[in-house]
Symmetry: none
Subunit: 200 residues, 4 copies
DNA sequence: AATGAATGAGGGTTCATTCAT
DNA sequence: AATGAATGAACCCTCATTCAT
């Protein structure tokens, strides 16, 4: 029946999510997944066509969300007046609102997509995100201080920002905790970037 | 005899380093390593007892160095007066010197140890480093501002600092470039942390 | 009820026939059959007990017909006077009539039986037919020329005659085309056999 | 050692040849092959990269030989004067010589190539051969009797000629027996074709 | 009559490791 | 010191069939 099917399907998705999160797509074992889901290997294929199919079903939305963000990155926050503000508390307050629409995207599937998609058709996702962030940073850094010497750091910053988001999701499950930490992370990030770009 | 042996051994270590760096211990293929090293599977075992043995020989020094740093972390730089300085350029200059002894530790074996040791007896190394950093951060943050609310960010900061160092090594081979970027990263990091802790 | 059942059953038989014809019994996929029949795996077993059962229902009549022909092969055409005729056109005309009763037997189920029954209880059918034909040929050849040296060719001739009929059915769907080609084939066959048996 | 390796390799090739001959590429089971070869599945991959690789090593020469014959088919026998000869015994004698160079090509690997290559990169081989034969036949038939009505039989004839060669190899292992039967088959074939084309 | 979830055996393939030579 | 054949477990996937609903 429908009911039973959904139960097993959810069990598979949950077990698969954990496995993909822990080991990534390639090292993930279907045998382990179905064992944890309480079903059998053969039965798995009544629900998904392949290991990659269940992966896609898990990260699909996160991927499309990311694509949307990337394709609309020119509409990202242009709250340039913020950069003049010196009061961190005001920053916090503003960021908390600014970040709001991003929160639903920063979830376990997003982490799996970024960290565990090697060997799948999504393997380029992480690089796509990093490149858009890197060029975004370089652009901002150049606006802010065209004489800055260490433009190469942009790549490293992009990687660590993405990684920070990933780690927040991995370490903390509570949504409001995640929200606070993402705000704090971006605050930290913005201040750090500004700091290395100008005296203060 | 001795000479030839060393040549092969070096070839194995080099090929294995590249493989471990690219794929991590578990995904690394011994067949690929010996092929790139120009020897055979059987002969590999004349040099190392196992896949893990060659891994250990590669990351061993980095691990011990890391252990030393961890065990002597109470002797870490306490240039507290720096925190009063507002001029970023002075920070840069001082950090460049301060960082100097750390540079030799931030190498490919270190990256392999941190990123690729899952499945080996070194798998706890990353966590050990992260915990010492995390508690170190918490300590400093508490000194700096005992009223700060988001202590949980310490964990995330620790992870991203380590990750940033890893990325610098992975993305840039030139040593002086690495040095500059590490300085810049730590500068960015310090400013960011200070920023979220207090108004400025 | 009855009506619906027959519709489904016919759909199954039709889809199965195509699948068995294309791939033979063993390579045929039940999943493919039910998909093409517009029903489900489970429902298939309300109509047939097994993959082999539907196979049997398809080839059963062809098999019994073949059995009948084999068991009554001593009553086969003995139009011995034909062998004296030299005019091919007369042969054609006579064969066209002689072949008539055979035509309804040379159909898709017959082809499936001969070509696709490996792995079923009908797997011996092809061999049975070949043996009767072979001994039939040997008998005729011996009558015709007792000094002929290559009696072993009888086996090969039997196989290729059967195969030719199979190919005619497989390649041409139009019944009158089939009829013409069967006549031509048997004509070709008879002339060839006579040819290698004697000068003419 | 080399010796041992060759023994196993030969055992694999022999067992695989039998399996491919009996079941064709797709239905052939590697597990069955290695069992009959007296080795293990894992070890098989020390000798061949894949199931298809061992298949290719078996049929490769036969395929190249066939390609050569196809590409040089315009140089095939043009012993047109033979067609005027009425004495079958002379035909036999001439064919025996004419066929000689073809014999080494008509072997077990050839049979596997023609009958068992579905699912491999050689799957088109049979069709290639059939098409060249069919057009060859049509050409000759048209020369011989431009008014002949049943040109469609050319396809059927091509298929049964190839099949006859396959059956000769499958049924008889002795080389001289094969030679005699191939001669007889082609003799039968030529006479049959001539017969349906003209009165005699 | 119909669904499709569940099972278990088998398919080809890759792997680190052992060992006789 | 060097070879690579041999092993056995694990990998993802497909299959015909059964059965509760």
């Amino acid at each position: 029946m429908q009911t039973k099917k959904e139960v097993v399907q959810k069990a598979i998705v949950q077990a698969a999510s954990k496995e993909f999160l822990d080991k990534g797509f390639e090292k993930a074992s279907l045998r382990q997944i179905v064992k944890n889901a309480g079903t059998t290997l053969g039965n798995f294929y009544n629900y998904y066509d392949s290991k990659e199919a269940v992966f896609a079903s898990i990260v699909g939305d996160a991927y499309n969300g990311m694509l949307y963000l990337i394709n609309h990155h020119d509409e990202w926050e242009r709250r340039d007046e913020l950069w003049e503000i010196q009061d961190v508390e005001i920053w916090r307050r503003e960021l908390k609102i600014l970040i709001q629409p991003l929160i639903p995207a920063i979830t376990t599937p997003f982490v799996i997509l970024i960290e565990g998609s090697a060997g799948t058709k999504f393997s380029h996702a992480k690089e796509d995100l990093l490149q858009i962030l890197e060029s975004h940073f370089i652009e901002h850094m150049d606006e802010f201080n065209p004489h800055y010497q260490q433009a190469k750091i942009a790549r490293v910053l992009a990687e660590q920002l993405v990684y920070a988001l990933v780690m927040i999701v991995k370490n903390y499950e509570d949504e409001s905790v995640r929200h606070d930490l993402i705000v704090e992370e971006i605050l930290f990030f913005a201040i750090g970037v500004m700091g290395i770009l100008k005296a203060f």
